[in-house]
Point group: C2
Chain length 349, copies 2
């Protein structure tokens, strides 16, 4: 019996529509489905988003783009955020992918190979991670204009903190640099940027985490549910330890349930001793460390132990679990392992 | 261009032989290949171990066992550590798997279904995670003897701390409980237990992490190498930030390399600001947070930035990287993502 991960495609579609509704009609809403749609399965998630109305999709690598093209058919635009790297020529051409050129080197490599597909350009507006710098642009404008990019993008470093001064600064830098690309569509906002307001939306937004039910999109509908089968229940006496390192010791007569999933399934080891799972409304704390394939849980306060306990669901979302693991919802999602039985709900199919 | 993960099958085989050599001739050395061989690919790793001499393999779930049977053919014994759960009948029968029964409930379920394959039994010797308790045994002995288990096992909670008193206590409990199973082979030791000495070895050992180059097997040959392509290099001025949240600020004129892999690839987010990658012998600290698909690295001190930087390899093993992420080598391995190009070395093929 495997642990079951449910993914609500209708909730993803509804989150897309809710984020789309934040913008005025002249802004298109795209969808970020990199990292296998944040671990939820791009082959199922992306078509559901396309049916909801998304026409522009973003992945990190050309290889992801090739798989996505299979799932989406020929019409949607597929942007490769990692850009154009040596060896990408064939895959980009064959699958009609649109690299987002991030550097002078990539611009020159793409122009030289001329794969015959379109391109986009990423400008760095202050995050200093990916994108062409303002200082480099003048020397590149001739080559860039010859490529006739479809889109100019940048990315915000602190969009999840609305009051952070970098948001306004990056907006100003991007607006200014984009003046060099008249008539070309612009995109700055991911989920956090959408929530900052219309000034950040430009012609195309690129929501990611908000589609999958995560902060900073407070009103997102939850998307994932994860329940783990109970393999075994045992009583332990005060003074007995549970799990690796003996890090948990019973301080009263206790009942311990052993569940079938562990850090190899993405239940991040740092949540040991800090996270909870749920039996109905009742939280049950983890007892001891997370093992590779197993969790041990203190179920002493339950009248009856159900067949499965809930890790993600109505009582605990990805952000609450992330907090227990000292991380963010994004990592909780992308860590979700391959051993779960994945069950898709909704999605018109 | 994808990041490249190399897996040295010869090193795995050599680690198996080195751990096998720790025991006398009457102890068989098995191999734990659960969680897809700790993230390294059971379909390639397990046959290499079989060629080295392993005949008994351990996985966590019946579904893993079914895939492993495909890879290994009919001869090796495949034990399912998670035991026998409702719904496992068909898969266990069809793929000739040997469940390790962990509880009275599993013993009764297996006896009732009688899948026609053999079984093993796990006894709890003090870890309180999986296994039948000593107190439960008398009431179960009739049923257990009728099943004629092939193997009786238990698991150590603190084997990585040789001086921990629980090691000797668990040894005593296991020896005593196993007296109830005369003539049946016994297994207590994983990698840590093997290193504790021959008293812990019994008739079968079950090394896992040591095969894959991790502690506590100090003398293990490293197994994995991971190098990430540099997508972009930029200069930043003092005062400029890098990455999400602006958590890293340049304090001198700096050069930043952006690499193509992030926490969606298992580069655990907690290593942000703490881990290093290597250019030849020179360590380069991460600059700022780990992104989902990207790392930013301070390469200011390099004369030239190579095409790839090394995350795992001769200069940094899984345990050193784990320390930077506040975890253990096991989690570094099992987190390794699916977007890497996996390259297998050796393994006689």
């Amino acid at each position: 019996m495997r642990a079951e991960l449910t993914i609500d495609l209708d909730a993803i579609a509804e989150n897309w529509r809710a984020l789309d509704a934040q913008s005025t009609g002249w802004t298109e809403t795209g969808a970020v489905v990199k990292a296998d749609a944040y671990g939820l399965g791009a082959a199922r998630v992306a078509p559901a988003l396309a049916r909801a109305g998304a026409k522009s999709f973003f992945v990190a690598l050309a290889e992801e783009g090739a798989a996505l093209r299979e799932a989406l058919g020929s019409r949607p635009e597929i942007y490769i955020l990692g850009g154009y790297m040596p060896g990408d020529l064939e895959i980009v051409r064959e699958h009609d992918l649109t690299p987002v050129l991030n550097s002078a080197e990539q611009v020159r490599g793409f122009a030289a190979d001329a794969p015959g597909t379109g391109c986009a350009v990423q400008l760095d507006s202050g995050m200093n991670r990916l994108g062409i710098e303002g200082l480099e642009l003048p020397a590149l404008m001739l080559e860039l204009n010859a490529l006739r990019p479809k889109l100019v993008i940048s990315h915000l470093a602190c969009a999840e903190e609305p009051a952070h001064p970098l948001n306004a600064m990056q907006l100003g830098v991007f607006q200014t640099l984009a003046l060099g690309f008249p008539g070309i569509r612009r995109s700055l906002a991911a989920t956090g940027g959408i929530l900052l307001g219309p000034a950040w939306h430009f012609e195309l937004t690129r929501p990611g985490i908000g589609l999958y039910g995560g902060l900073p999109f407070n009103e997102a509908r939850p998307v994932v549910g994860l329940s783990l089968p109970v393999i075994q229940i045992r009583d332990v006496a005060p003074g007995e330890i549970v799990g690796y390192g003996g890090s948990w010791t019973a301080t009263r007569p206790s009942r311990i349930a052993t569940l079938s999933a562990g850090y190899a399934d993405g239940l991040i080891r740092a949540m040991g001793g800090r996270a909870r799972v749920f039996a109905g409304d009742t939280p049950c704390p983890l007892a001891g460390r997370v093992s590779m394939d197993l969790l041990t849980v203190d179920v002493t306060d339950l009248d009856a132990v159900p067949e499965r306990l809930e890790v993600l669901g109505p009582h605990q979302g990805i952000d609450a679990l992330a907090e227990a693991a000292g991380t963010i919802g994004h990592e909780v999602l992308t860590a979700l392992g391959s051993r779960y039985a994945r069950v898709y709900k909704g999605g018109d199919n």
